[in-house]
Symmetry: C2
Subunit: 375 residues, 2 copies
């Protein structure tokens, strides 16, 4: 029995991937309307911040894993002390929960990062800027940010005040001069087996992943190898079990720098559902159960994933009819979520041999579903 | 909301395929241990032979469809009279329930069938044999048979007594001199859209499908076209909605004859989960919801499906570990069933460009899991 904490779309798709493996799957969700709670047979409703709830949930599970990174580290340590297999474990997961811890740990293993420092106040930000290329500086709360939240790009000390208002530690990072964002995704099992997916390009809009292209077009094979080796090394050094997404900047001068880590199935790996022999969701489950990992190789020359964001249509049904009829090759993945403007409600994968064609089809579907285009 | 009647593996895999479409899925199952009941969130336990149970189950469903063909025709007519969408409908489904009705209907549309006649007693079987090629003759109960059950191949009037003992109508068919069995699988929606999958070869052992090769090797393109056209014509003439499997004999003299019809996802279509752009399960759901159908084209040169039958291991876990480690490209589909000797408990798909390699890998996995080989 795999127990997954969190009822979002990652849990929904992990459940889907576990069905063919014969995996029994149990969910800790907030509400019965949660994306995964709609489709999983065994759902426990409860608060993941409450240790007693976690303990009761975990009692009959062979392993606990996660839809998100928000379970308090100390609770995970307590579960582990109870003898529960927690994968990834708290000492690994804290690197995805706390950007300060993550940067320090990556420094300690020599992984290339943007210049960074924990800063105490706006004057300290100016001091940090002065040690490097100056303003603008990127400021991040060390915990709780995602999809652009908890991140500021500030151009002077005046603007640098906002992040400190919440009273949580703030990490300053240089604003990297990057040409694009990449992601190197790997999966590692407790026995140490690991697989690496092809390095992908991740296209962001307004701080949210909009599109992923697999593999990353025109990527120097040496840089691709370096990114895969880096992700495998991070997974090994940090003793990560399950899926690890290493989000990277590709700099103008041809280096890669680690942006973020995510220790769960990740938006940059959704393309694997239709584009790889074994999806990230299946390999995450195989890994946390310490089963042999599946083949991560691509099945098509190109696979493009586009996120479907809520837009003009409160009900996307008719837009879907149009898209499905227009392109029978679209692989549609809906999350069962209410549509709100800008909310990720699903994604579409398209694969084929001609990147321009594949990308045009995927972008058309996303734009049509959002209501940006009507033909 | 799709309501599926029957908790077997076909419902399990249909639920899995419905998750990405955002389909709400409800199951009528016999027990909570049923293959599909283990993984579906909304399960009603009850007897599909009871009309009141069916009515309560169907009340909040947009459409009712089936994991098996055993729901009494008159109950389906009653549901339809209540205004419930039943897909396939009772007038179509009866052709998959009653082999006598099916043969008469196929005759009426000129579909090629083995010589056949409803027979009254053993003497009548001898008379039927005398009109054609003589004994042996194939005898089938018109209702209730599957996987070789309810079928006898008799070589004389003495042997012809057994099928009549149950007191149900018996259909006599010539024993066809066939070189192999094929299946032409199509999906048709209520609005009349239809797609045809590549014609496959189905290899039977002891009356049970053991292996499916997609596409059927060395099949004359004209015969392949004929088989697809025949299946599309049957689907249209019989007003079938959802997936239709037309099991065919390829005769020594180069003809195709209809063996059986199945109006639901079918074992001969399991390869589509990993071998086609859109699986039979997804297209069945699209069809019964009257959504545009997905691309049925193959994704690999060859896909081979082998059924995993229960064998020497009451618990297959360690055999699975071995197979998964030996071949990371195996696509494993387990049904969550208790292992009993000879019982279908799962299947494995393998795809690639080299048929010999693909078939060897698939056969090795099936034999190892059954315990027939140990290395």
């Amino acid at each position: 029995m795999v127990g997954m904490i969190g009822g979002g779309q990652l849990a929904r798709m992990a459940h889907q991937a576990g069905i063919p493996l014969g995996v029994r799957f149990k969910l800790l969700a907030d509400t019965p309307q949660d994306s995964a709670a709609q489709v999983v047979s065994e759902v426990v409703l409860g608060d993941y911040r409450d240790l007693d709830t976690l303990r009761r949930f975990a009692a009959d599970c062979d392993v606990i894993t996660f839809d998100h990174e928000h379970v308090p580290t100390e609770h995970l340590r307590a579960l582990q002390a109870d003898g529960i297999a927690v994968r990834p474990g708290p000492d690994a997961l804290v690197n995805a929960q706390d950007k300060g811890v993550m940067r320090a740990r990556l420094d300690s293993i020599g992984a290339p990062c943007p210049r960074h420092r924990i800063v105490a106040d706006p004057a300290d930000v100016t001091a940090f800027a002065g040690e490097g290329a100056g303003y603008p500086v990127v400021l991040k709360t060390v915990r709780g940010g995602y999809d652009g939240k908890g991140v500021w790009v500030v151009k002077d000390e005046q603007e640098a005040q906002a992040p400190f208002l919440a009273g949580v530690p703030v990490l300053a990072e240089e604003k990297v001069d990057y040409v694009r964002e990449l992601a190197a995704n790997v999966v590692r099992s407790p026995s140490g087996q690991a697989v690496a997916y092809p390095v992908v390009e991740s296209v962001q809009e307004d701080g949210i992943c909009a599109e992923v292209i697999a593999p990353a077009p025109d990527l120097d094979p040496a840089l691709s190898d370096e990114a895969q080796q880096l992700a495998l090394r991070i997974a090994g050094e940090l003793d990560i079990t399950g899926h690890l997404a290493v989000e990277l900047f590709q700099t103008r001068d041809g280096r890669i720098l680690v942006n973020e880590l995510a220790m769960r199935p990740h938006n940059s790996g959704h393309w694997t559902q239709d584009g790889a022999v074994t999806s990230q969701f299946e390999n995450h489950l195989r890994a946390v159960l310490d089963l042999p990992l599946g083949d991560p190789r691509p099945r098509a020359g190109w696979t493009v994933m586009v996120n479907v964001l809520g837009g003009d249509y409160p009900d996307m049904y008719h837009a879907f009819l149009h898209c499905m009829a227009r392109d029978p090759g679209l692989r549609i993945h809906m999350y069962g979520k209410d549509v709100k403007p800008g909310r990720k409600v699903g994604h579409v994968n398209v694969f084929g041999d001609d990147l321009d064609d594949v990308r045009e089809r995927a972008r058309h579907a996303a734009a049509y579903l959002r209501g940006t285009i009507t033909e």
